[in-house]
């Protein structure tokens, strides 16, 4: 199963607050349980482990309806020769410096330490995220102009 597909599934589970989900396709099986449970994935391909956080619900009594940003519990394991780039801040993910500009990187782009990969904007700070390693972008995990949480995986880099 492609990462892109898993990403789409995660998004739908979040949107509809589905607690438990499983899918079998031939020898591939994916099971996702929300609330910290580990996702099982059995397949010939290397396994990925994903957990989904509960929707934010614990709120301070003095601010009954305000949900402060929380650190997500989602984790995504990658292979030994891969590096996971995560968002260092809560904000909005942008692939390009402006709507008219081409994206900083695409899947397949060769990157090195210091290459700007994307912008995460928070409170009108346009924060350029630099790559920490040398390699090639192998997966893009977030769509343009979507919100990202602190620590949320945004790119997978195949290490050089």
């Amino acid at each position: 199963m492609e990462l892109k597909e898993i990403r789409e599934i995660l998004k739908l589970l979040k949107r509809y607050e589905i607690q438990d989900f499983s899918l079998q396709r031939g020898d591939n099986r994916v099971r996702i349980r929300r609330g910290g449970a580990v996702v099982e994935r059995s397949a010939a391909a290397p396994a990925s482990l994903v957990t989904m956080p509960e929707p934010a619900q614990a709120q301070a009594p003095q601010q009954p309806a305000v949900a402060e940003p929380t650190v997500p519990q989602e984790t995504l394991s990658v292979g030994e020769n891969q590096f996971l780039v995560t968002s260092p801040i809560v904000g909005t993910f942008y692939r390009a410096p402006s709507p008219e500009s081409p994206p900083y990187v695409e899947v397949g782009t060769v990157v090195s330490q210091g290459t700007v990969l994307c912008i995460v904007e928070a409170m009108k700070i346009m924060n350029e995220i630099e790559c920490e390693v040398n390699g090639k972008i192998s997966a893009l995990l977030v769509e343009n102009a979507q919100p990202v949480e602190y620590g949320e995986p945004i790119f997978i880099v195949d290490l050089a």
Binding site: P88, I89, T92, K124, I125, I129, E130
Partner: protein, 243 residues
């Protein structure tokens, strides 16, 4: 020329003071390196939007290398707008702040801030603070989409010059832009809140999403709490416009 700590580089016209400072930052320029320009041919606002930059106003960018975590960067938005506000503020002048970093005179924009950060992992390499201050009302501000939306310093202080404002900015940037933690952050947040326009029915517009409500206060991190029909929500990004 210096304005206390600022290391000033004066230019006539540049493409964008932020772009120039970012080039300098990549080559290792020190903190407080400052580019001041008389006009910008490609002045930018948020997400590459054009910032109209004719001669007669003040355009500058300042380089900071704060020892701050990326997750604390949004605080710089509050702190830098407070610094610009305090540099312009005079008693009884109807200046106020609009979340997260606009400075308004009677509801019209008099100054704006564009912050660009560069981070690698959990390390902040630098932060560029771009500031545009309208000194004089321009003919071009009176027509088209800017009509009635812009204000200028000359409306409340016709004698102040660029050098005076740079001196004031140097002092206020020094005072507020490093107040990102502890009691100094708490005090700066309170100061920002004191000068903000609260309670006006507003809309947050973020791409195609729109949420209507009244801004009520800042969170500990500087995000905006909006009171909506569905209750209180926390806003991280977007444009705040009057409903």
């Amino acid at each position: 020329m210096t304005s206390e700590r600022m290391i000033l580089h004066h230019y006539g016209e540049v493409s964008s003071t932020n772009d120039l400072i970012k080039e300098m930052a990549d080559k290792g320029a020190p903190e407080w390196t400052t580019v001041v320009a008389q006009s910008q041919s490609a002045g930018r606002g948020r997400m590459g939007r054009r910032w109209h930059s004719p001669r007669g106003n003040l355009y500058l960018s300042v380089l900071f290398r704060p020892e701050i975590l990326p997750s604390e960067l949004p605080r710089m938005s509050i702190l830098s707008s407070l610094a610009v506000f305090m540099a312009l503020y005079r008693d009884k002048t109807p200046l106020n702040l609009k979340w997260p970093n606009d400075i308004l005179l009677d509801g019209r924009k008099i100054a704006g801030v564009l912050l660009e950060g560069r981070t690698q992992g959990d390390r902040v390499d630098y932060v560029v603070l771009g500031i545009g201050i309208n000194l004089k009302l321009q003919e071009t501000d009176q027509a088209g989409e800017l009509a009635g939306k812009t204000a200028a310093v000359e409306e409340f202080d016709s004698l102040i010059g660029v050098e005076d404002i740079l001196d004031d900015l140097s002092r206020t940037l020094q005072k507020y832009c490093f107040a990102y933690r502890g009691s100094s952050w708490t005090a700066a947040r309170a100061e920002w809140s004191k000068h903000a326009a609260w309670g006006r029915r507003s809309m947050i517009v973020d791409g195609i999403e729109r949420v209507e409500g009244c801004p009520v206060k800042l969170t500990e991190g500087g995000s905006l709490i909006l009171e909506t029909d569905r209750g209180l929500i926390t806003v991280q990004s977007g444009d705040l416009v009057e409903a």
